[in-house]
């Protein structure tokens, strides 16, 4: 798609409130964790029983695990229904739903309406290509190989320093603007996302 104007990262992230968003790709979990860290108030995290629960220790650099309300449902339908209930109640700042299958337009639109009614942001973690057209934005996130990948394998002792992980976040659907992609990293000390470069801008 030809891009005429570059899209500002700050205009699309942090995610727009009271809207339903979708994320897919290998780095989707980190995207959700960062969104949870930037949201206000409690975070409701809905997932299915058969999926392992997100690891709170891994969440720690991004978001305080104590803010999470972990909800375990037995089917995708119940995940969607619980997410809708949580959105509508307006008690949480962000509702994250982990889905394993595709959702239709009806489900997506219901979540969007619930998010508007409760003034709560919804974020669905989906497999690639399983989203619905009702979402406000859809992101594809992937980790970037380290810069030295091509030259040679590096072995280093364990470090506890700042995370140098980089992700490529591509905005692949945007209801109110153009698409773009960015290389981003997480600054745990400042608790914010840093944009390294505008990859596709």
């Amino acid at each position: 798609m030809p891009q005429t104007m570059s899209l500002k990262f700050s205009s699309v992230f942090p995610l727009k409130k009271a809207r339903a968003h979708e994320v897919c790709g290998d780095g989707a979990l980190a995207f959700a964790a960062i969104s949870a860290g930037l949201a206000q108030g409690a975070v409701v995290w809905v997932s299915e029983h058969r999926q392992p629960v997100v690891n709170p220790e891994g969440l720690l650099p991004y978001c305080d695990p104590g803010r999470l309300l972990v909800t375990r449902a037995d089917s995708q339908n119940n995940v969607l229904a619980s997410a809708e209930t949580a959105l509508r109640s307006g008690a949480a700042g962000l509702v994250v739903g982990e889905l394993t299958g595709p959702i239709g337009l009806t489900e997506g639109r219901r979540l969007q309406l619930a998010a508007e009614a409760g003034n709560t942001t919804a974020l669905l973690i989906l497999p690639d290509g399983a989203g619905s057209n009702a979402a406000e934005t859809r992101w594809r996130c992937a980790g970037l190989p380290p810069a030295s990948a091509l030259s040679q394998r590096q072995i280093s002792p364990p470090q506890n320093g700042p995370d140098s992980t980089r992700w490529r976040w591509s905005l692949i659907k945007n209801k109110i603007g153009t698409l773009s992609e960015w290389i981003v990293g997480w600054d745990a000390a400042a608790h914010r996302v840093i944009v390294v470069s505008e990859a596709g801008g």
Binding site: V70, T71, A91, R153, P157, D163, T165
Partner: protein, 497 residues
């Protein structure tokens, strides 16, 4: 005011309780296994007419009466039934106590006139119990002891001051004495209460234990005797009976709202909060459906409780209409006064409501919170506790970097230029059907198993964990088991997204 006591004795409480539920037209008895054989616990008058009696073995009884129908006795249920009767008896007076396993004491002092006097009161009790299928024997006197004696041996009323004249001719066992004592007194020719009363007190006190005189004094009113009223567990329930059946959701919810208002007023007075509520909707065809509501936190706010019922009530099939709604607080907890109008409280309230709503759909055990656990084993360093009633973890301890997702270890197929022993991660490996290359690796971080715990997944001994950044972009948490009993191998246990 002169004390007046009614003693109520149910001679066939156990048998009649069962017969009420399962009427039979045959000699009937309850059996209980005692002293290694099945014995008759209680029986109906028809069975008694065959010469059966309590304590007889069942085999013996069957030889008298081959057509005897029996059921196993349930003494605990009988006691519950007696408590129920005690609660019913509070319609006559507020002060009702249990008397042994088959009797009640009613302290009707000052309340007999409500039913037109003592005789009409006894008649009323007798008539109501007869209608319920219970035979009862009643005695009314100035003391529990005298009332007890009258109920067992000479039904009737002893007017104030006439206890002795009414009790005098009764046998000694009317004094609630042990059988042995009665026999021994009877051998001396002392057969009735008046005989005992006429003896010099000093001689009786010297020869018999103190119980004899104490029982006599209690019966005649010289010594006081307390009746302990039952402590009634506070019950919180309200009911709405409708003249015409209703069926629309809005109507039922309006009724529910009215009930929650009343119930919450009751709870408020007692400083309690409901933890679990049951709304029973009875339909015209006598079917009843219950909607249960488990709350994340004790609550007595009528508006919020009514709102939480909405989903459950919507699922009820009203059939031809609902004519009775009953709301009961099944589980209650103490809930003190609380300051209401603070923003922080409101936020917490709405989160608790959300826990309740989600819990009603998925079960409260599925709404969880993370709590840190002091363990160096990565998969055991946290636990999930139900969010209802548990505060969030105050501060999470900061540890080493851990993956965002942990899963059960998955073996990888290492390939590439010679897998070095106990060494560094393989340069190339296959995992979940993808071939990946190691671009950067951080490690090792050695974690030894908790030897004091017997964990099958840690059979392989200690693990060297590596944080591997692959050339394909995924960041995995690999470990190597250098001490594994079989071949040491590489496994993936988590993924840093």
């Amino acid at each position: 005011m002169q004390r007046r006591i009614v003693s109520l004795w149910f001679p066939r409480l156990a048998a009649e309780r069962v017969l009420r539920a399962h009427p039979v037209d045959a000699p009937f008895a309850l059996t209980l296994t005692e002293r290694n054989s099945e014995r008759i616990h209680d029986l109906c008058p028809r069975a008694e007419s065959f010469g059966l009696q309590r304590g007889m073995t069942l085999v013996h009884a069957r030889s008298f009466c081959p057509g005897l129908l029996t059921r196993p006795a349930d003494p605990d249920a009988d006691q519950r039934f007696l408590r129920l009767l005690a609660r019913w008896a509070t319609r006559y007076c507020p002060w009702v106590g249990l008397d042994g396993r088959d009797g009640l004491f009613l302290d009707i002092t000052g309340s007999a006139h409500l039913l037109g006097g003592e005789a009409p009161l006894l008649d009323d009790i007798r008539a109501r119990l007869a209608r319920a299928g219970l035979s009862a024997r009643l005695g009314l006197a100035g003391t529990p002891g005298a009332a007890w004696a009258l109920a067992r041996f000479a039904e009737g009323i002893a007017p104030p001051g006439e206890s002795l004249s009414r009790l005098g001719p009764l046998p000694l066992s009317a004094l609630r004495l042990a059988d042995q004592t009665c026999t021994s007194l009877e051998r001396l020719g002392i057969a009735t209460v008046s005989d005992l009363h006429n003896l010099p007190r000093a001689t009786v006190a010297r020869r018999y234990d103190a119980d004899v005189l104490r029982r006599l004094d209690q019966a005649l009113g010289a010594t006081g005797e307390q009746i302990s009223p039952l402590q009634e567990a506070p019950g919180f329930a309200v009911r709405l009976t409708l003249p015409d059946p209703i069926g629309l959701l809005d109507d039922v919810m309006a009724g529910t709202r009215r009930l929650t208002g009343h119930l919450c007023a009751q709870l408020d007075k007692a400083q309690k909060g409901a933890r679990m509520l049951r709304l029973t909707l009875r339909r015209v065809d006598q079917e009843s459906q219950a909607v249960e509501l488990r709350l994340a936190r004790p609550m007595r706010d009528p508006e919020r409780i009514a709102a939480l019922f909405e989903r459950g009530v919507g699922a009820v099939d009203a059939g031809y209409g609902i004519d009775m709604i009953r709301l009961e607080a099944v589980e209650i907890e103490a809930l003190g006064m609380r300051q209401l109008d603070r923003a922080q409280n409101r936020e917490k309230d709405s989160l608790d409501d959300l826990v309740t709503q989600l819990g009603n759909r998925l079960g409260l055990e599925n709404i969880l919170r993370f709590q840190p656990v002091d363990s160096h084993i990565p998969e055991r360093s946290f636990t999930l506790v139900p969010a209802a009633g548990s505060p969030p973890a105050p501060a999470w301890p900061s540890r080493r970097r851990r993956p965002l997702r942990l899963f059960a270890p998955e073996p990888v197929i290492a390939s590439g230029s010679g897998v070095r022993q106990g060494g560094e991660p393989p340069p190339r490996f296959r995992w979940r059907g993808r071939s990946l290359t190691t671009a950067q690796a951080e490690g090792p971080e050695r974690i030894t198993p908790a030897w004091w715990e017997n964990d099958d997944s840690w059979r392989g001994g200690l693990r060297d964990y590596w944080r591997v950044e692959t050339g394909e972009g995924r960041r995995l948490w690999l470990f190597h088991t250098p001490q594994a009993p079989r071949a040491p191998g590489w496994y993936v246990q988590g993924e840093f997204a």
